[in-house]
Amino acid sequence: MSNDSMLNTLANGESIPVRDVPETALEVFLQGIVDLTGMGWRIASYFGVPEREGVDLWCILAGSLGRLGVFRSWVEGRLPSITPVCPEAHLFEREIAEQCGIPVDDHPWFKPVRYQRSLDRARDAWGRGNDEPILPGVGDFYRVGGEEVHEVAVGPVHAGIIEPGHFRFQCHGETVFHLEIALGYQHRGIERALINGPQATSMAQMETIAGDTTVGNATAYAMIREGLAGMTPSPQAETIRAVALELERLANHCGDMGALAGDVGFLPTMSFCGRIRGDFLNMTALLCGSRFGRGLVRPGGTYFGCEPGQAAELARRLEEARRDYGGAVELLWDSPSVMARFEKTGRVGSDDALALGLVGPAARACGIVRDVRHDHPFGLYRSFHPPVCVEPGGDVLARALVRWKESQVSMEFSLDRLGSLPGGDSMSACGKMGKGRLAVALVEGWRGEVCHVAITDGAGKFLRYKVTDPSFHNWSGLAMALRGGQISDFPVCNKSFNLSYCGFDL
């Protein structure tokens, strides 16, 4: 059987009837994933829907030419692992085991992902009883033996009081042999809450999957709803969404540039970028009244329109921030001591990045051309293509450079789009969701690919809603970046990835 006939393809934001998704035998399905990932496809999402007898497995692969491949299979009992030959599947398999309660055979590091119970609470992959408490971070960690090796445990309370996560370092003096990351402290059960949805609260929940990616997640959810209902938002809504997404990227990239400077003790850029980040957040507030873009994106368009006067004011502020931001970042590049600190720190090779399926700036900093806006254009990006910013280094410097380049592109793009804002309504009615359909939405959030997948049942309600945050792909990248590095470099490496804890924990 040829690989292409094994899967059905659809474009980003489209929906297809569930019955059109090819269902294959488990071995063929798993072999298919392995083969296709070797041929340039990569796993965007791979999840299970627990049923009484077994588990319905779904796999969404992202390919070239804007195609998304989807196919499914059925497993009862135990799932054979493909991680040894396809490393990017490793967290997905652990997630399937945890959410659907089936053990995965021959997985090299078979542990819970978020320390949660299975979705239907009927089975448990580790045989834990329903009354047994499941505590995050409790369990075995990878250990290196020997007298000269010591273990350093950091967290879950973070030194900067950001979000909770537990990090275990196996160190030899100052050198890190291995870093293991345990998350799950902020698991809120977003996916479970969406089963049989959407409810009235669903939109608000989507906006808080990761507070710093509000627009990204809200846009993906809106695309799913619109795809399932078969409608397209108005041109003005598409423009406002794209501008808001870019403003979100700008605020976060700017904050990250400042935080990177702060981590190496370079105060001027830290202080300036901290302030300019606030300017970008205030621009989002100008659009919708919320600095983080809450309440802006809604299925059917955007809740707030944009008057020409508002757009002009936004453009004026953007122009001003562009000047300040440029000056602040210039200071950074002009300091040899900063460059010396960034260069060759936390390197991830492009082979590793490809094998782990990294996304977003972390992947682009390893020389991988991977950007949803370019590969699977959605909304306004179907007509306008901001260039993809790539750096080959794979180190902290490369990740900083990618952020700065992307910021410049974002500012240019937003100014252009604000200059030719389409008129008309920003909101149109989003009809009822189709019955028995599957929709996939990919959005390039500032951290990378935000992937939402929805399957509706016979009544037009969500049978399963799967969210894959870019951090889900990228946390392993951070662990790899530390391997063989200095433990004192961890904070700056961590900041250069700046991954989400709550986006991962869901």
């Binding site: 350093v152 003096g173 001027p268 001591s337």
Partner: protein, 302 residues
Amino acid sequence: MIDLLIHLVLIILIPPLLPGVINRTKAAFAGRTGAPLLQPYYDLYRLLRKGTVFSRTTTWVFRAGPIVTLAATLAAALFIPLGNHAPPLSFNGDMILFVYLLALGRFFTTVAALDTGSSFEGMGAAREVTFSCLAEPVVLITLLVLSRLSGSLSLAGILTHSSTTLWLASGASLILLVAGLFMVLLAENCRIPFDDPTTHLELTMIHEVLVLDHSGPAFGMITYGAALKLSILSALFLHVALPLRNADPYLDWLVFVISMILLAVAIGVVESCMARLRMTRVPQMLLAACVMAAFAMILVVR
């Protein structure tokens, strides 16, 4: 008698001012208003009023750490002349005692850190000891060179000997000493580029991580001790670098205070213009300071 009193008052009151000045300078460079100049004094007052928490796994060593360290640093402060005035205590060979008093303080800070059994503090202790192994020789060699130049064996004689004429006579070796001492001044007082006093990230800390478990008055003693050490080493540095002498003893005190504040501003400027060094580069920098001091020695001895 009056000089003795002024010495004691100055060495007790000035130390917290220096971090205040440094922070203000850094804030100005970053375009911020910054904390009040006297903030370190308020912080000390706040800490002294707080309760202290002791971990159950620690022993008396942990409690003794801050006290011994502060006492040793205070004792060392009595040997350093301020301005052009004789210090309260002075005898032949007191420079060795001075270096060892500082080492004693460090020893107790380190041992107290190891006593907690925390992996962070063990790591910090290892770093602190490794780096000070390289910083101590610089101070010792500097004192030896100055001792040779001045023909004296007491700190008072060594440090008040430096003058404009001496700079004209053996400027090359003094320049090397000043450069080496400045690096040690920054390294020993956890300033950028060696350490970041404002960081909250345990994994990158050197000095701060040693005292993570201390709280309340004990932590106040540590903060004060650190400021005191900064002013002692600053005074030492100023004696070599800026031998401003005046006939009027009272004007001398004033010149001394002003030059201390200027040095704090200079440290703030360095901190604002530089990022931290990679941890693996710190020993190399300190080694460079050692080499400079050694060269100064060769220039003097030849």
